[in-house]
């Protein structure tokens, strides 16, 4: 290894000498010659894969960090790293790149350069990173995508089925409405796979109910204030609404209804914002019938566990579809699936609940990344 290193160093310096020779030429030539020298001197072949040894180097590459969901996702990841078994098995790091594909791509190549064992990724683009992810996979790095998935071959995924999610929400709503009435659909960020899949899931249900009419379909951008604003804008032109189907920002939609005096609120199928679930237990003088399903922030921890198990040779290299964690106005429980003293924008499913919970985390982990007492057991579905 050392031999290789010094050779690399020599060639690197060689490149610089080339540039010195060319120093009297124009800056362009100098710059490119230097880069070229650097390039030719470097290692260009794929190194032989080394078996991973503990502690495993696992990195979380996150894109956008500007909303509560991502913060919780990253916080539970940080908390998990400080809990056993991860504390002794894993040396974890995390990076945010914002929504810039090129920044995330650069960070990924830096991770490859760092020779990490596994990369967990919430991607800025489903396709934009394929080139670099392909390189990571071909170097034997375990790459697991969650939330915003990628299409690169060889990349594993941890996710809930967004199609099923949209479909389940719609099916519940159709049942509440007895198969007839007016529905509004508040969609997500256009151009993303999640948005498309959830809408497709819903549309597959509406197709079976000819008496359900989707009277309006507009984006809420998965953001409560945007959803509230857009809802307030379209509401006056809408007839009586018998059901709300919402991908995100559900509490905002309900607040717009209240402001417009459209009460009592219709049955609502939405994401797992704390504000939405508060309405299920009674909030702002309203109590609603509702169903709440989301992509849980703890997917980062599930991905971490999947990476750890694969690296330890205890689990096959395969993707995981998490079962939907469904909460309705009948099953909602204070302190477990709704938190009245947390803000409306808080995501309640930082932890799974119930007897078959995949993972159980304390609220401190989600709020500040502090570890919970005890060890952290993640129950991956049987291989």
């Amino acid at each position: 290894m050392r031999l290789v290193d010094s050779a690399r160093k020599c060639r690197f310096i060689g490149g610089n000498e080339v540039s010195k020779l060319l120093a009297r030429r124009s800056v362009v030539q100098l710059g490119s010659a230097g880069l070229l020298g650097l390039g030719l001197g470097g290692r260009l072949s794929t190194p032989a894969l080394a078996a991973a040894t503990k502690p495993y180097k696992i990195a979380l590459s996150n894109s956008y960090i500007g909303n509560k969901w991502r913060l919780e996702m990253e916080n539970v990841f940080k908390a998990a790293l400080q809990m056993e078994p991860f504390k002794s098995d894993v040396k974890g790091t995390w990076f945010n790149s914002g929504n810039s594909v090129s920044t995330q791509s650069q960070q990924l190549s830096n991770l490859i350069a760092q020779e990490v064992d596994a990369i967990i990724i919430d991607a800025a683009s489903p396709t934009g990173l394929n080139g670099i992810l392909h390189q990571a996979v071909s170097r034997g790095i375990v790459v697991i995508a969650f939330d915003n998935l990628v299409t690169a071959p060889g990349v594993l995924s941890v996710n809930v089925s967004q199609f099923d999610l949209g479909k389940t929400l719609a099916a519940w709503l159709a049942k509440q409405m007895n198969g007839t009435g007016n529905v509004i659909m508040v969609t997500g960020v256009a151009g993303t796979q999640v948005d498309l899949d959830r809408n497709k899931g819903a549309d597959s249900v509406w197709a079976q109910y000819p008496n359900i009419k989707v009277v309006n379909r507009y984006t809420g951008m998965w953001d409560s204030s945007t959803a509230e604003r857009n809802t307030a804008a379209v509401l006056p032109s809408l007839p009586k609404i018998d059901g709300i189907w919402c991908q995100g920002g559900t509490d905002g939609v309900l607040k717009a209804f209240i402001s417009a005096g459209r009460t009592p609120l219709p049955p609502t199928a939405g994401e797992c914002e704390n504000g939405f679930r508060k309405f299920m237990i009674g909030y702002q003088g309203q109590k609603i019938k509702g169903i709440s399903i989301g992509s849980p922030p703890f997917m980062s921890v599930v991905s971490l566990e999947l990476a750890r198990r694969i690296l330890a040779g205890q689990y096959p290299k395969k993707s995981i579809d998490l079962p939907l964690a469904i909460v309705t106005d009948e099953t909602v429980k204070v302190g477990e699936t709704v938190f009245p003293d947390q803000p409306d924008s808080f995501f309640d499913d930082f932890t799974d609940s119930g007897p078959n919970a995949i993972v159980k985390l304390c609220i401190e982990a989600a709020l500040s990344g502090t570890p919970c007492p005890g060890t952290l057991n993640v129950n991956l579905p049987a291989a």
């Binding site: 362009v28 880069l35 001197g41 594909v101 090129s102 960070q107 830096n110």
Partner: protein, 357 residues
Amino acid sequence: MPKLSSRPPCVIELPPEPRAVSDNRRPRWVHRLAQEAGLFLAATMLGIAVILYCVVFLIAQRHLPGGFELTSTVNSTLPLVLAAVAQTLVVLTRGIDLSVGGVIDLTNGLAAITLDGSAWGHAGQPGTGSIGTMILGSLLVLAVGGVCGLINGLLVTLGRLQPILVTLATLSIFQGIAIRVLPQPGGAVPQGYTNLLANPNWPTSVLWLVALAVMWWMFRRTRFGVGVYAIGNDAAGAAAIGVPVASVRILAYVLGGVCSGAAGLFLAATATAGDATAGNTYTLTSIVAAVLGGVSLFGGRGSGIGAIFGAFVSSMIVNILFFAHIDPLYQSFYEGVFLIAAVVLVGGIGHLLRRRY
């Protein structure tokens, strides 16, 4: 000649100035430095950034960056490089192009469905286009970029509208068309195409980079290139000496659009697929790269080569922060600090240089 006043002529004949004037002329390089101060500072800044990167890399990894690092850095920076050059072309005319991101969205989406011929029902597997479809697809993508630029240029020049308003509007329009072209991320770029443009294992992208720099060098030595600079210096002055201001300005936008189109192509090539929203961030980062590269937002000063350096400086900043283990939450903060420091440096040192000489 009127001979009327009793007052003596005030202007008296003087002997000619001694001819030894050339002695106190400054050497050629001083003038070059004054004219291209931004470029030289950007080069210096890039040098410092590369050294800093090597140092933090060496500390973190116990060896110097090698071929993989070079190749992946150039591959992932090339779209930004092209976007920065596109931005520079417009900024030099004292404009600004906010639609760069939209054009990249559109062309990137288009590339994903044309390079393998799937847009016109090519029979083969997705992602296995022939040489013909690749060439045709590339030309189409570049042409679409040029048309986007033409729209901007016509609106700015003939509509006499402010570039910032025009391109803000066209940004949204191009983004909208992009989503129509490629409603969901996907498509496939033939492997051969990726290998040609942004080969992960061999620095082909470095060759493209050199080609781009050479093209800029040539551009600067055309009447059109001089015209672009002249407009940015003083459009009225340029018109007074016969520069065809309107057509040069339109052409600058067109060429900028073509460069943005090329950025879309390279983005598709590195990603091996298309995403009609992946270009959005390039609007801002292209401006940042141009500014880091010493291009004056007031027009008329700067160089595309400087913008290339600027693009690499901004990607070096990302790398340096990465290997320096800066808490990711503070990354954008530090990026901002670096940017301000760099801009102050360019401005401040440039100012000092001019005063010294």
